[in-house]
Subunit: 178 residues, 2 copies
Amino acid sequence: MKKRSLPLGRVYRLLEPGPVVLLTTAGAAGANVMTLSWHMMMEFEPPLVGCIVSGRHHSFDLLRASRECVLNIPTVELSKQVVACGNTSGRKLDKFAAFGLTAVASFRVRPPRIEECYANLECTVADTRMVNRYNLFVLEVVQAWVDPAVKEPRTIHHAGRGVFVVAGETIRLPSRMK
Amino acid sequence: MKKRSLPLGRVYRLLEPGPVVLLTTAGAAGANVMTLSWHMMMEFEPPLVGCIVSGRHHSFDLLRASRECVLNIPTVELSKQVVACGNTSGRKLDKFAAFGLTAVASFRVRPPRIEECYANLECTVADTRMVNRYNLFVLEVVQAWVDPAVKEPRTIHHAGRGVFVVAGETIRLPSRMK
């Protein structure tokens, strides 16, 4: 995919609809990827994103230690890989190789971007004060990429137990809401 | 709508896909409703939900003072009301009357539920320690209601500037993910 840089003030338009994302992290032993649905926008610009990463996950250790990650946004074509990433542990498996995901270099952070995802948000960890109590990391998006050819991305939205709702029609209403 | 009580352990299945919600609050001068997209699940059970409510909103004052609210989940049939609630202030307007939303009594909290929404999550405020820094309220869902007749709710997902993505087809994949 040929992506362009997205102004940071528009990042909320990608995450606010609530898509499942693939979180990439990196450590001395290599990169990892996990499936993540518990995230929300916290500020428009610079974009802050809250996310919950359970302490059981290998990605938790990598994220806390490296303080960097990428939020990669997949579309329905990647749903099998999304589920596969959610059902395996990076402690035992190179998920990129196992599931055919292409790791490409990021520009601002060490963890790789996933080529097959239509958008990639390179993030640094801005606040860890709520990690001990809630496993809540506050991320700052420092560089965003999006494939401009994907006009209405068919993102997937987890409704539990392997059930996903796919983004459907787009409607436009007169609104002053940002 | 005839709703049934939903086990609290299933609340995440409603919010995890990222729908726009209508937040109801109450104070001495009556109830209010605002449109909210910045929320995420934080814990399965008891269900904790994080949400960002800007200090500019009338609902911020009501929520902080009363420490109670309801997250009402609308479907696409209510999209005009959702936008109308997002573009007006409860300081000046009774939005229930203005937009034809029916306030019905909640069971566990003072703020009303919105009858026209297919699901209602009655919440208490569990943690305000991140309000000053991030306008982040941690809510605990104490009672949940859902209309069992709505099998595949056509929720709406805000992508900015009045653009909403409507929940489309549902897909099911073998998964061990909760």
